[in-house]
């Protein structure tokens, strides 16, 4: 599904990723854990195609295709979804309008038929209900006045509507209490499927109690320094990043 090879990325002329390699097969959940400044957010923004994140070396292949030259919207249409650490508030754009624009823009880019208003409303009502998102919330401006939990549930709603093949969760647990995190994790788990992969990026182990990964990678100094199964998260939790990374070095 996703193959990252020897990826070097610089932001404002500063090298952040320095030889990151990672393969995520279809249907698997991989977690990237790392201390502050390891390059976690840079990894997610680079995969999503944000301007200013310059790939200076290496490759990103998604379903066999080179992603580096593609703008964010085309990557999204091909099935890459980034759940934001801090979902943006956009006053003046209703959540519903935004969702419809996104669903139909992706359909257009893929050469598929757009949904009409009736089809779209039916789809969104069904999907939102499962995530405890009210119609009133959908009518409000995008994320404006939403609580931290509501914003993240709204991200999961977008994921459910857009049906990506690869979902990248960038520190989805930040700003959430346990109950909100559980609700978001349930939403994510419901979307697990044999043809859908997840890349869960997190600083803390606790999210991984609820979204259980197949593999865990430790990112430090701009590359993966250690990989293992889910027991690696517990080891990190007990011993801390310094001890675990120190052993590697």
């Amino acid at each position: 599904m996703l193959e990252i090879n020897d990826l070097h990325v610089s932001v404002h002329g500063k090298d952040i990723l320095k030889g990151l390699s990672l393969t995520v097969p279809p249907g698997e959940v991989h977690a990237i854990m790392g201390p502050n400044g390891a390059g976690k957010s840079t990894t997610s923004y680079t995969l999503a195609g944000r301007d200013g994140y310059d790939v200076t070396q290496g490759s990103i292949r998604f379903k066999g295709e080179d992603m580096v030259p593609l703008p964010p919207e085309e990557r999204a249409a091909k099935g890459i979804f980034l759940a934001f650490q801090y979902p943006l508030e956009i006053p003046g754009v209703s959540t519903l309008t935004f969702l419809k624009s996104a669903v139909n823009a992706q359909a257009r880019l893929r050469g598929e038929k757009e949904l009409d208003a009736v089809q779209f409303l039916k789809l969104i009502r069904e999907t939102a209900k499962g995530l405890n998102i009210s119609e009133e919330m959908l009518k409000r401006s995008l994320n404006v006045g939403f609580s931290g939990g509501e914003k993240k549930r709204n991200e999961v709603l977008q994921m459910a509507l857009l049906k990506p093949s690869l979902a990248i969760l960038d520190e989805t647990d930040s700003g959430l209490d346990i109950d909100a995190m559980k609700l978001v994790a349930e939403g994510v788990n419901a979307l697990r499927a044999p043809d859908r992969s997840f890349l869960v990026i997190t600083h803390y182990q606790r999210l991984l109690d609820y979204i259980v990964p197949d593999h865990i990678h430790i990112l430090a100094g701009g590359r993966i320094v250690k990989s293992g199964d889910k027991s690696l998260a517990l080891q990190l939790e007990e011993q801390g990043y310094d001890a675990v990374i120190g052993k590697v070095a």
Partner: protein, 425 residues
């Protein structure tokens, strides 16, 4: 194409044109002609014209680029259609609203409108107002009798289709008697070589006027418009102004809150691209106690467009209890676009609430990325964000039909200029 125009050529074109006017009108014109001849065309050495050098804009020969925009239609409204500054009565229905052509008023020696024309919130040393009064021939005069509501909006449609020689100077007078209500819609389309349009509105006690201006000039269009208003006790003036700029485009709202509990609300939107110029100037005078004004201007500028907002609030010495708010926000989509903003508060009373704020910034890059990461292409994402920027202004228009018209105007602009705004430099 617009040719070079000077103070002298403007006065010359008028010679021999002013026939059939009554003595009072001739006297008014002569006085104004002398004022304009003394003041001359404004240039940026005058503080009020610092961001808008009309003398220079008129000295240039300009060529139209792109297609000529047309006016919005308003089916069902009372209409006055002006083709290149000439009233076309055969296409118009304004008489059904009780309105009359200005020509008819100017020719009437005993017109009840003597003293109103040129008498609403008069200005000292305003060269363009003098020019307009000196040379006005075409226009519309409407009086709405006490206690009545004009059922449909009066739509003044100014179409500038072909090349016009020299200047055209139009005058509109709207009188709302006590308790009257009306909606005035002005649409401006195409490229006048040089037009001045003065709209005088006098609102008597408890009357209410909704004023919508939609200005869609071509890139070579040169127009300077003024709305002069006197708002009486408990009367209300509500306005939405939209402008797409032009080679030279300026609108001045010169309003006097003249009776207690008078109220003025203005929402302004400007959208300019290319090398267009767009100036919104307001002078709101709170002349008596307990009056309220609220103005909010938003602008989006791309390419090498230049936008200016000058907002002056004057509070007279005994105008206690004044509540005046002013806000301007400009969004620059290009590093070569320019926005100037100049709030001025002249407050001579002590028990007043005056608030003003001004921001000039760029589009939020995080929001743009967020939309694109959801699959929305850049041009569409920009349109969504720009429309969102104006949404608050548009939401202030209470009448559904008018709000729809204004929203369509913003959307039209976004779709026709999508390629220009998408190239953020």
């Amino acid at each position: 194409m617009g040719d070079a125009i000077s103070t002298g050529s403007l006065l010359e074109t008028a010679t021999g044109r002013n026939t059939g006017a009554a003595d009072w009108a001739e006297a008014l014109r002569d006085r104004s002609r002398a004022e304009f001849a003394a003041l001359g065309l404004p240039n940026r050495r005058l503080e009020a014209w610092r961001y808008s050098d009309l003398a220079r804009a008129l000295s240039e020969t300009v060529r139209e680029t792109g297609s000529l925009p047309t006016c919005h239609d308003m089916p069902g409204a009372y209409s006055a259609i002006f083709e290149n500054g000439i009233l076309d009565e055969t296409q118009s229905s304004f008489r059904e609203a009780g309105a009359l052509p200005l020509r008819q008023i100017l020719a009437d020696p005993a017109s009840p409108f003597v003293g109103h024309i040129g008498g609403v919130n008069p200005q000292d040393d305003h060269p363009l107002l003098s020019l307009n009064t000196a040379l006005m021939e075409e226009g519309i005069v409407l009086r709405v009798p006490a206690g009545t509501t004009l059922e449909q909006p009066l739509h003044l449609r100014f179409d500038w289709q072909a090349d016009t020689i020299g200047g055209r100077h139009l005058r509109v007078l709207i009188l709302l008697e006590e308790g009257a209500k009306a909606t005035l819609v002005e649409t401006h389309g195409g490229s006048p070589s040089f037009a001045t349009i003065v709209t005088e509105v006098r609102l008597a006690k408890n009357s209410e006027l909704t004023h919508v201006r939609l200005e869609r000039l071509g890139s070579s269009g040169r127009q300077s418009a003024m709305t002069l208003g006197e708002i009486g006790a408990s009367a209300r003036y509500r306005a939405f102004y939209l402008s797409e700029g032009g080679h030279f485009s300026r609108h001045e709202a010169l309003l006097k809150l003249a009776g207690e509990e008078a109220q003025a609300d203005i929402e302004g939107a400007s959208l300019a691209t290319g090398t267009r110029h767009c100036d919104n100037t307001t002078i709101i005078t709170h002349a008596v106690p307990h009056t309220t004004s609220q103005q909010s201007f938003r602008g989006v500028l791309s390419g090498r467009a230049r936008g200016a907002y000058q907002g002056c609030i004057r509070v007279a010495p005994d105008a206690q209890g004044t509540d005046a708010r002013q806000m301007s926000r400009a969004l620059l989509l290009s590093h070569r676009a320019e926005a100037a903003t100049k709030p001025e508060l002249e407050i001579f009373a002590d028990d007043v609430k005056c608030a003003h704020g001004a921001t000039i910034g760029e589009l939020d890059a995080d929001a743009l990325f967020f939309l694109r990461a959801r699959g929305i292409p850049e041009a569409e994402a920009l349109s969504i964000l720009i429309e969102a920027f104006f949404s608050e202004s548009l939401a202030m228009i209470e009448n559904d039909h008018l709000r729809g018209l204004a929203t369509d105007a913003v959307q039209d602009w976004l779709s026709s200029h999508a390629s220009e705004v998408s190239s953020v430099e």
